[in-house]
C-alpha cells in the first residue's frame, strides 16, 4: 500500500493511481475540470496543480502517479495564483451570466468559479464560437458555453471508440468539431449520450422537452424503465440479450413481473413509445427482445429469486388474473401462506378469457401460472368468495384483484335487443369454446384494443363482414397502430368519429344502429365527455349482430367496499375495510396487463409492509 502526504494529511493510494484520484477518494478535494473518473486524464485544465517536495516546478496531480512517501501541497501562493489565472482564462471565453443556463446549479464550471473565487473583470472578454443548435436529435449543442475541457472528445474516442468529436482551430478559435462537419448523424454518431453525460457545463445537454415530463433526470434518461408501469430494468435485460445471456435477461425481467413470456407477446410496450432511440430513428424492439429472452432463458431465475422464511401469516387473493397471481407470487416469496380464489373454472383472468388465443396461446400463460403455483401459491377454482367470508375464515389479509369483467352497454335505446353482446361476453364465450352465432355481419362499437380483439376473433370465426365504429378520429384511437393495421388488412370496415343514438331491429331480424358524425370531442375536468355532433349527419349502420366494446367495470356484488364510479376506492392499495386490499383493473379500470402486474406487485409490497399491524 502506497502512502502519500497531502497538505499534512497521510492518505493511502493504490498502485498506479494518480495523486488526484487518491486524494479525491480519501476526501481531500483538489479543484479539477478536465479530469473525470471514467475518462483517461490529460492534465490540460491545470486546476489540479500541486507542488511535490523534492521536485521542481508545478505538476498536474491527475497525471502524476502516486508514489510512496510523496509529500504534496495543494495550496501555495504560486499555485493559487496560477489556478486562479487558469479559471480566468477559461472564463474569458464563457458567457458571464449563469442564470439563463440550463445547467444552472449543476454546472461544475459554475461551482469552480465560486470555489476558487474568480470573476471575469480582470481579463478581456474573448469572443467565442456561438454555435447553438437543436438540429441534432436528443441533445442541444451550445458551443458558447463550452470550456474546451475535452471530456466529450475523450468519452467519444477513448471510452466508446467512436471518435466523432475532435478539437479544431479555425479563425483563431478552437472548438469541438464533429467529424465531417455538420450534424452528429453525418459524423456517424451513435447517440450513446456519453458526451452529454460527462460535459461539465451547459454546452451539451439533453433537450428540455425530453426531460420535462419526468420527475428526475435519471428517469428521463432511462424512459423505458420509468415509463414501464412495473419499472422493469429494460436496459439491463436488453444488454444481457445482446451478450446472448438469455437466462440472466429473463431473471432481470422476473424481478418485476412473473409473466415474461406472456408480456413478450401481448404487452402494450409503453417502453417502446418512450424509447429515446425513437428520436434518432426508431424505438428498440424491446418486446421482441423480451421474447427472445423468454423463449431461450433457463430456470436460472429460480435460484436468483429470494425466498423469505415463513411468516405464519395467511393472505387470501380473490381473482387469478395477472394482478392477483403476481401479488400471490411475491407474497409467497415473502413467506406468507397464499390462497388464490377464482370464480371461473380456470385461472388466468383476462389472459384466458379476455385476450384471444391467437394472440396469446393458452400454454404460454399456463406454464407461467404453473411457475407461480410452484412457488407455494394454492389455487382454488370455481370458488367465488367475498372479502368478508375470507376474513371470517381467519385469513390475515384479503387482496381483491377481480379485474373488470362486466362489459358496459351504451345507455341507448335498444341496447339489450337480441343479438347484442358485450365484448367481454363474446371473448369469454369464444375462449370457453361456446361460439356465439353472430350471423354474417357484425358491428363493433368502440375503438380500443378490446374492440380489435373482438374483430380478430370474429374474423377467425369466419364472419364475412366486420364493421367497427368509434367516437375517436383515426389518429386518436386508443388501440395500437399494429392492431388497427392488422384489422384493415383483413377487410375490417372502420367508421371513425361516430356517436350512437339507438339500436333498432328490422323485420328480417337485422340490427341497425343510428349514428351521427362527431364534430368535436372533449373531456371536461370531471371526466365527463362532451360531444358536439355534426347537424344532419344521421346515418344507419346495419349488421346481424352488435357488440359493445366500450369499456368494462368490475363485478363487485356482495363485496361491501367503498366504490366510486364503479371502481374500488383505495389508499395505497388499502380499501375502505381494514385488512382488505385491492389492486388491478378493479381499482384502475381497464388498463393493460403490465399495469395489472405492476399493481399486483405494489399491493403485495403494501400487504407485506403492513404485517406489523396484524
Amino acid at each position: 500500500m502506497i502512502k502519500i502526504t497531502i497538505d499534512n494529511k497521510i492518505i493511502a493510494a493504490k498502485e498506479g493511481q494518480s495523486v488526484l484520484s487518491a486524494a479525491l477518494e480519501a476526501g481531500v478535494y483538489i479543484p479539477h475540470l478536465c479530469h473525470h473518473p471514467s475518462l483517461p486524464d490529460i492534465g490540460e485544465c491545470k486546476l489540479c496543480i500541486v507542488e511535490i517536495e523534492g521536485r521542481d516546478g508545478i505538476h498536474t496531480s491527475c497525471t502524476t502517479p502516486a508514489e510512496d512517501g510523496m509529500v504534496i501541497r495543494t495550496r501555495s501562493e504560486r499555485i493559487d495564483s496560477l489556478r486562479k489565472l487558469s479559471m480566468e482564462l477559461m472564463l474569458a471565453g464563457h458567457p458571464s451570466e449563469c442564470t439563463a443556463c440550463p445547467k444552472y446549479g449543476q454546472c461544475e464550471f459554475q461551482s469552480l468559479i465560486q470555489y476558487i473565487g474568480v470573476s471575469d473583470t480582470r481579463l478581456r472578454k474573448v469572443p467565442s464560437n456561438n454555435l447553438y443548435t437543436e438540429e441534432n436529435p436528443l441533445f442541444v449543442r451550445d458551443l458558447g458555453r463550452c470550456v474546451l475541457c475535452g471530456r466529450c472528445v475523450r468519452a467519444c474516442e477513448d471510452v466508446r471508440g467512436v471518435g466523432v468529436l475532435g478539437f479544431k482551430t479555425r479563425d483563431g478559435r478552437t472548438e469541438i468539431s464533429i467529424r465531417n462537419g455538420g450534424l452528429l448523424a453525418d459524423g456517424d454518431c451513435r447517440f450513446c449520450g456519453a458526451c452529454v453525460e460527462v460535459c461539465p457545463t451547459g454546452a451539451l445537454h439533453d433537450k428540455n422537452e425530453l426531460l420535462r415530463s419526468y420527475g428526475t433526470k435519471e428517469s428521463a434518461l432511462v424512459p423505458c424503465r420509468s415509463k414501464c408501469p412495473a419499472h422493469t430494468d429494460v436496459p439491463r435485460y436488453v444488454a444481457y440479450v445482446r451478450e446472448g445471456d438469455f437466462s440472466e435477461a429473463l431473471a432481470v425481467i422476473r424481478e418485476k413481473a412473473p409473466f415474461p413470456h406472456t408480456l413478450s407477446l401481448v404487452c402494450m410496450r409503453f417502453c417502446e413509445d418512450a424509447c429515446r432511440r425513437g428520436c434518432v430513428n426508431e424505438a428498440i424492439s424491446i418486446r421482441d427482445i423480451k421474447r427472445i429472452a423468454a423463449e431461450n432463458g433457463t430456470d436460472l431465475w429460480k435460484s436468483r429469486a429470494k425466498s423469505s422464511p415463513s411468516t405464519g401469516r395467511k393472505v387470501s387473493v380473490i381473482g387469478s388474473g395477472p394482478a392477483g397471481l403476481t401479488a400471490a407470487y411475491y407474497l409467497a416469496r415473502k413467506g406468507h401462506t397464499v390462497d388464490v380464489y377464482e370464480k371461473l373454472p380456470k385461472a388466468g383472468g383476462m389472459l384466458r378469457y379476455g385476450i384471444p388465443g391467437y394472440r396469446l396461446p393458452e400454454e404460454v400463460f399456463e406454464s407461467e401460472i404453473e411457475d407461480i403455483l410452484q412457488a407455494g401459491v394454492r389455487l382454488h377454482v370455481n370458488s367465488p368468495k367475498t372479502p368478508q367470508e375470507l376474513l371470517n375464515e381467519g385469513t390475515d389479509a384479503v387482496l381483491v384483484a377481480v379485474g373488470a369483467h362486466k362489459g358496459i352497454r351504451l345507455p341507448i335505446e335498444g341496447n339489450d335487443l337480441p343479438n347484442t353482446y358485450t365484448a367481454v361476453e363474446y371473448l369469454r364465450n369464444a375462449a370457453l369454446g361456446s361460439i356465439t352465432g353472430l350471423g354474417d355481419s357484425v358491428l363493433i362499437l368502440g375503438g380500443g384494443n378490446v374492440a380489435f380483439d373482438v374483430a380478430g376473433v370474429a374474423h377467425r370465426n369466419g364472419i364475412k363482414r366486420i364493421m367497427m365504429a368509434c367516437l375517436e378520429p383515426r389518429d386518436a384511437m386508443t388501440a395500437g397502430k399494429e392492431e388497427i393495421e392488422e384489422g384493415l388488412g383483413y377487410g375490417l370496415e372502420l367508421y371513425n368519429g361516430k356517436t350512437f343514438l339507438r339500436v333498432v331491429q328490422n323485420e328480417e331480424g337485422k340490427l341497425s344502429v343510428l349514428c351521427r358524425d362527431v364534430a368535436e370531442l372533449s373531456v371536461d375536468d370531471s371526466g365527463r365527455m362532451n360531444i358536439v355532433p355534426v347537424p344532419d349527419s344521421d346515418q344507419w349502420l346495419t349488421a346481424d349482430s352488435v357488440i359493445f366494446a366500450v369499456g368494462q367495470k368490475p363485478e363487485l356484488e356482495g363485496f361491501e367496499l367503498e366504490q366510486n364510479r364503479g371502481l374500488l376506492v383505495v389508499n395505497g392499495h388499502r380499501s375502505s375495510v381494514e385488512k382488505v386490499f385491492a389492486c388491478g383493473d378493479s381499482v384502475t379500470g381497464t388498463l393493460s396487463i403490465i399495469h395489472a402486474i405492476a399493481s399486483g406487485r405494489e399491493a403485495a409490497s403494501a400487504i407485506d409492509l403492513s404485517r406489523r399491524g396484524w
Binding site: 492534465g43 482564462l89 478581456r124
Partner: protein, 217 residues
C-alpha cells in the same frame, strides 16, 4: 498530454523578432500571437486560452486602446504559460514576448500611454494619406480600396477620406510611385487637397507649427 508542436511550426512570420524587419515590437507580437492561436492544437488552457487572451490584449494596445495594467497582465500570463504550457511552441513564443517587453519597453509604453506607434507600423495608430507631390493619378489605389475610401480620376491627385478609411493598408503595396504614406495619428495632420485636383496643381502651404490653434507667434 504533451503536445509536440515546435516554434518552427509557426510560419508566415519571421522568428525571432528582428528590429530591422519587423520595426514595431507590438505589431510583431500581435502577428506572432495570431499565428500561434491558429497553429496550436487547442487542448491546453495555457496555450489556447492564454494565446487568445494575449491576442486580445495586444490587439487593443495595437489599436490604441491599451490600459495601464496591460503590460503586467501580459507578463503574468506569459510567465504562467512558460511554466504550464504543454508545447515548446507556446513556451518559446511567450519567452519571446517577455523578452520584447524587457528590451523594447519604451515602445510598449508609447502605445499604451500616448497611443502612438513611433515606427508607424500599427495601422490603427496611423493616418494614411496620398502625398500630393508624388501621386501621378494612376488610379490603382482606388481600384483596390475595399471601402471605396479613395477618391480620384485619371490624372487627378487621389485623396483618401480619413473618415471612411479603415487603415487596412491594401493600397500601400499597389502604388507604383509609393505615394501612399503614413503619418502619426497624434501628430500634425499632413496637408492634402480636400478633393481631387489635377496632378501638379496642388501646393502645400508650409505648416506653421504651434500656430494651428490660433496662437500668436
Amino acid at each position: 498530454m504533451q503536445c509536440n508542436k515546435m516554434i518552427s511550426n509557426i510560419n508566415g512570420i519571421g522568428f525571432p523578432y528582428s528590429g530591422e524587419r519587423d520595426r514595431c515590437s507590438v505589431d510583431y507580437v500581435f502577428r506572432l500571437l495570431d499565428q500561434l492561436r491558429n497553429t496550436l492544437c487547442g487542448k491546453g488552457v495555457f496555450c489556447r486560452d492564454a494565446a487568445s487572451q494575449l491576442y486580445s490584449i495586444v490587439g487593443s494596445i495595437r489599436g490604441g486602446e491599451g490600459k495601464s495594467g496591460d503590460v503586467g497582465l501580459i507578463r503574468e500570463i506569459c510567465q504562467a504559460s512558460l511554466q504550464l504550457a504543454d508545447c515548446e511552441m507556446t513556451r518559446e513564443a511567450v519567452k519571446e514576448i517577455l523578452s520584447l517587453l524587457d528590451t523594447d519597453g519604451e515602445n510598449w509604453d508609447a502605445h499604451i500611454t500616448r497611443r502612438r506607434c513611433p515606427s508607424l507600423s500599427c495601422e490603427s495608430l496611423t493616418i494614411f494619406y496620398i502625398d500630393p507631390a508624388v501621386c501621378d493619378g494612376c488610379g490603382k489605389c482606388t481600384d483596390i480600396c475595399p471601402e471605396s475610401a479613395i477618391d480620384g480620376s485619371p490624372a487627378l491627385i487621389h485623396v483618401i477620406d480619413r473618415e471612411v478609411c479603415t487603415r487596412c493598408a491594401a493600397c500601400e503595396p499597389v502604388c507604383p510611385v509609393s505615394a501612399i504614406k503614413r503619418a502619426d495619428v497624434a501628430g500634425v495632420p499632413p496637408k492634402t487637397p480636400d478633393a481631387p485636383v489635377p496632378v501638379g496643381s496642388f501646393k502645400a502651404e508650409p505648416v506653421r507649427k504651434g500656430l494651428r490653434k490660433g496662437l500668436r507667434p
